[in-house]
């Protein structure tokens, strides 16, 4: 049982990932492994080069698009398989399309690894499900009480207002290519913005894949195929790295926006030279992280990448067992 401490537990972690020892499978490994369980398609969790990859059909499709990988074993939400005496099933994490929590059952113990997750509704993916467990392995990207994401409607309204107030300019929104970009588009559509939305070339393939997988994103066009004059008064999406790139010089006087949970910190937004910060995150904020743990009441909580210390402290100060797992190497700056 978990009380024996991490070294003897059937689940172990090192800097390269979480190891499910009886099944010899690694969760989101950062180095090539013979068998990998992948929670979702973001590059820091899903790497190419594994022998066998077990993930949702959508995550495998995203990995296929990014790495050209084809070897993979699709597993639908709720469906289960057994490896080395471990029963494995995937459950929606609400993070991006195809994102899954991994439930591992072995020797009468249930372990849930969340990967990245959020609790807010997202028109582009299945909503998070609470999966009862003994050990809850949670992310903590925004694991500090300074992070409380506002309602997305409010942020989308900020974006639409900036566009309406500046008909001669364009609004350039930096958004992570997988998940964030499609969610911003889908939310704009939900707010009745039916105009064409313009894309940086790097976002095109992922948006097309989302549409193939059944997520309607409306009229999307490419900046590269549009005259500069026609971009005035438009909303344009690009990867965050392109915001200050030479690429953006072709745009008509862009208002630089960025959709990220980090935008809640003024000085962070300022450091990235963002004029219009949009606090839109695909991660659980502090309240979601703590409320999820409170709702599950697991025997033990293990905290991975992010601000582990604060969430561990929150648990232990409420007499809940918790510790930090030393999984390194996740890139969180653009989420």
């Amino acid at each position: 049982m978990a009380a024996d401490g991490p070294s003897s537990h059937w689940i172990a972690a090192d800097r390269t990932g979480i190891h499910v020892r009886p099944a010899d499978l690694w969760i989101d490994p950062s180095v090539p492994r013979a068998g990998a369980l992948v929670t979702h398609g973001h590059a820091d969790h899903a790497r190419g080069g594994h022998g066998e990859t077990i993930a949702t059909r959508e995550t495998l499709a995203i990995m296929g698009l990014r790495y050209g990988t084809s070897a993979g074993m699709p597993l639908a939400y709720g469906e289960s398989i057994e490896r080395g005496g471990v029963r494995i099933s995937l459950h929606p994490a609400g993070h991006v399309l195809g994102s899954a929590q991994i439930l591992l059952e072995h020797g009468g113990e249930r372990v849930v690894v969340t990967g990245d997750y959020k609790r807010r509704p997202d028109p582009t993916c299945a909503p998070f499900e609470l999966v009862p467990c003994d050990i809850f392995v949670t992310e903590a990207t925004f694991g500090l009480p300074v992070f409380r994401h506002p309602p997305i409607e409010q942020e989308i309204a900020k974006l639409l207002n900036a566009r309406a107030a500046n008909p001669d300019r364009c609004v350039l929104v930096g958004a992570y290519a997988l998940g964030k970009a499609q969610r911003v588009i889908a939310e704009l559509r939900r707010a009745s913005h039916a105009d064409p939305i313009y894309l940086h070339g790097a976002l095109e393939k992922m948006c097309r894949l989302y549409e193939e997988l059944g997520v309607d994103l409306g009229d999307l066009r490419l900046v590269g195929e549009t005259e500069k004059e026609d971009l005035r008064g438009r909303i344009i999406l690009c990867p965050p790295s392109a915001l200050t790139d030479r690429w953006s010089r072709r745009l008509p006087d862009p208002i630089t926006a960025m959709a990220s949970g980090w935008m809640r910190m003024r000085q962070r937004a300022r450091a990235r030279q963002v004029e219009l910060p949009l606090i839109i995150s695909d991660h659980a904020d502090w309240d979601e992280l703590t409320q999820t743990i409170a709702a599950l009441r697991p025997a033990e909580t293990w905290v991975t990448h992010g601000a582990e210390e604060a969430l561990v402290h929150w648990c232990t100060s409420r007499q809940m067992r918790a510790r930090a797992l030393a999984v390194a190497g996740y890139e969180d700056e653009d989420d």
Binding site: L144, V146, V274, A310
Partner: protein
Amino acid sequence: MRAFARLIDALVYTRSRNAKIALIVDYLRVTPDPDRGWALAALTDAIDLSAVKSATLRTMAEQRIDPELVAMSRAYVGDTAETVALIWETPDAGPGEDIPLSEVIAILSALGRVEAPMVLAGMLDRIEPESRYALLKLATGGMRVGVSARLAKVAFATAFGVSVDEVDEYWHALAPPYAVLFGWAEGTGDMPDLSETAWFRPFMLAHPLEEASVSLDDFVAEWKWDGIRIELVGAASERRLFSRGGDEISRAFPEIVEAFDFIGVLDGELMIRGEAQGNTLVGGEAGSFNALQQRLGRKTVTKKMMADYPPFVRLYDVLEAGGRDLRALPWTERRAALESIAASLPADRFDISSLIAAPDFAALSAIRDSARDAAIEGVMLKRRDSPYVAGRKTGLWYKWKRDPLTADCVMMYAQRGNGRRASYYSDYTFGCWTAEGELLPVGKAYSGFSDEELKWLDRFVRTHTLNRFGPVCEVEKSLVLEVAFDSIHASKRHKSGLAMRFPRIKRIRHDKPAGEADQIAALQALVT
């Protein structure tokens, strides 16, 4: 408060200077007195609310939120006011009130230290959540919105169509909320007679010398001394000393105020008389900057400090004398006036910055290179016909600093920066080797690198962290940094026994193995 908070938020996110000016102009035109005056004072950091410190905010937050979580959040965000604004929880909060800025100022300025946390907490609960950040920044001072005092003055001048030089001139003679200044600018009132008050005149500043040389027919050379620039102002009823930023420092140097029996305005360098260093030509030597630091920032001074660290002023220029404004005169004429003024002041407290006699620029360059005096920072070049004008005007004055010293050091620890650098490990402690092969810290630097280098260094720290001590990361001792510094001194505070002055990262030495970084002994040889 709402309008002010919106202005602050807009300024935080606005990069262009003209757009910032436009935002302030709009605010000043539509906001009534006295709120707009208080906003102007807040932007220029002219409000001193001494009861509220960073620690006040921390205490206040800790009374409502788990102190550990407050501390972790502060370390992450890098700014106490922003941390508390983000973390604050108001039970059963309604939409919040829009309290006038002047009322906020009135409440804050009447606060005592003991009651401050409670009153401030009450205000945070009362106002709109969107205004919390502005309130806390206002309370602790320093808005950090990328608006310099100069830019605020330009915006003021633009808003009312008056000359920025005139605004600059009157600015320091008037106090917030500047009702007189607004009245004058809007043409509804006159500027009062200010001749009886000792107020700060803006300094003339120099550009770094970038040309290969200048002609000594047009320029005069003098030493650039390593003290602090001060302005001495004497009026009929009072005498005051001001630092370069216009802060009054009279109380820290009562001997100077006492000795300054003069009606007018002088510009000079404040230094401490010390050992056999410095200019021995004019009856005095200058001690190191370290000695001066013992006297800076003090509200009261003991007799012992006055005896151990006697200050004096080396005069550079005269702005006014006997009620006459000399600033429009060429430097040569002001210098002649200064020489007679200097001669009339007590010699133990005042001397004049001597000129460097050099036949040509090459000779001057040689003189500059050979000056190893710790109290000399470099050479000043001033146009002989230059008037005394506020700020940095191109082509009139140049500073030509001595080349810095450098050492190859090994990064040992890194810490996140503050403010806009809070997400980056941007503060580095570095060390050099002892003869026994031990690495000892010799300094800490947080500047000198480009944005690209900062990203690289941040990544290096994240991927080479060995241990964490709160916000401090201990890193693998493998990266060599070439560090530039102005001088190095003996110091009891550090185990290495050394302290660098103004260290900064000159270059990342990707090519150099850590074992080949400099030895402590090599640095000891540079001690002045």
